[in-house]
Subunit: 180 residues, 2 copies
């Protein structure tokens, strides 16, 4: 059963990496060129919006982190948790939580910034961009979708990490390890 859980986690992490890489590629390789005014061409890339640049960096970093966790997993996760293993499990829980929140946060920040490109803002006289660069915007939308799938899976992984750590503690005494 322990092996079953470990295999489940490996599958989860592999899917997370897949979706994160997909998000990165969809954003990073998205370009569209349009004639804007009297033959002047404008090329839209992810560099035009800081939030999208940030998203590319964060999703790459998160994919790298999950890859490292997979490597760690394959070398040292046999048997019950004791002493130093417990410490590693706590650090793992902490990092998983941070990674999940940061990925989710950056994705949502990009959605927030992109909504302005879709709807514009009359009050601040910001023009819509997506009616010109429609294909560009749709691809970015797809990237956000993949990003959210990855975020949800990472939240799930961090819950599994929490389960692995906290079930070692006594149900009666505060933060005391169970004697098994």
């Amino acid at each position: 059963m322990k092996l079953g859980m470990a295999r489940g986690e490996v599958c989860l992490r592999l899917s997370v990496i897949l979706f994160l890489v997909l998000t990165t590629c969809l954003v990073a390789f998205d370009t569209q060129t349009k004639v804007v005014f009297l033959g002047i061409q404008k090329k839209a890339t992810y560099n035009d919006l800081d939030a999208l640049k940030m998203l590319v960096y964060v999703t790459s970093a998160a994919a790298g982190y999950n890859l490292l966790q997979l490597c760690k997993h394959s070398t040292c996760s046999r048997g019950n948790l004791k002493g130093s293993d417990m410490c590693v499990a706590w650090i793992s829980l902490f990092l998983d939580q941070i990674a999940a929140y940061i990925t989710f946060g950056t994705n949502t920040a990009s959605v927030g910034a992109s909504m302005i490109a879709v709807k514009g803002s009359e009050a601040f006289q910001w023009l819509k961009v997506c009616d010109k660069f429609t294909r560009f915007c749709i691809q970015i939308g797809g990237a956000f979708l993949c990003g959210y799938v990855a975020s949800i899976l990472m939240a799930l992984i961090s819950t599994i990490s929490a389960y692995r750590v906290f079930r070692m503690y006594s149900p009666k005494w505060f933060l005391r390890l169970k004697s098994t």
Copy 2:
């Protein structure tokens, strides 16, 4: 010790409510009027940016949710978890997680949208707004800070919820309750 943890959680939830209400008020009551062009006045409010509107709704809802949790806490959290209590604890963990992610996400989405107001976007010809409405922007920045404090506290609460649920499970068998 159990009472100590319960009291700690009550304190945490009270601080969360405080910071969430502070965020809501800082955003909702933030206005600044400036003469823009030839005597035409422009009033900046949170209604000018969809992300800020969203933030006001979400922080209010999250504050309400934490208030409900406090009420629940005062009526039915004595003694050890058993049967239906376990079910309530799982639901509580689930809702706490969702609330933490949504609050953090909305806050970060607003930051993402507001960064455009601070820096503008040359590529899309969006003008900076914050050099005109400086006081307005600083107050919104303060609101984001409070929002992040609330988010971190909510993440902490959801970890406590996870601890409360998962320590009831056996360290040896997958998802089997401990016989205490």
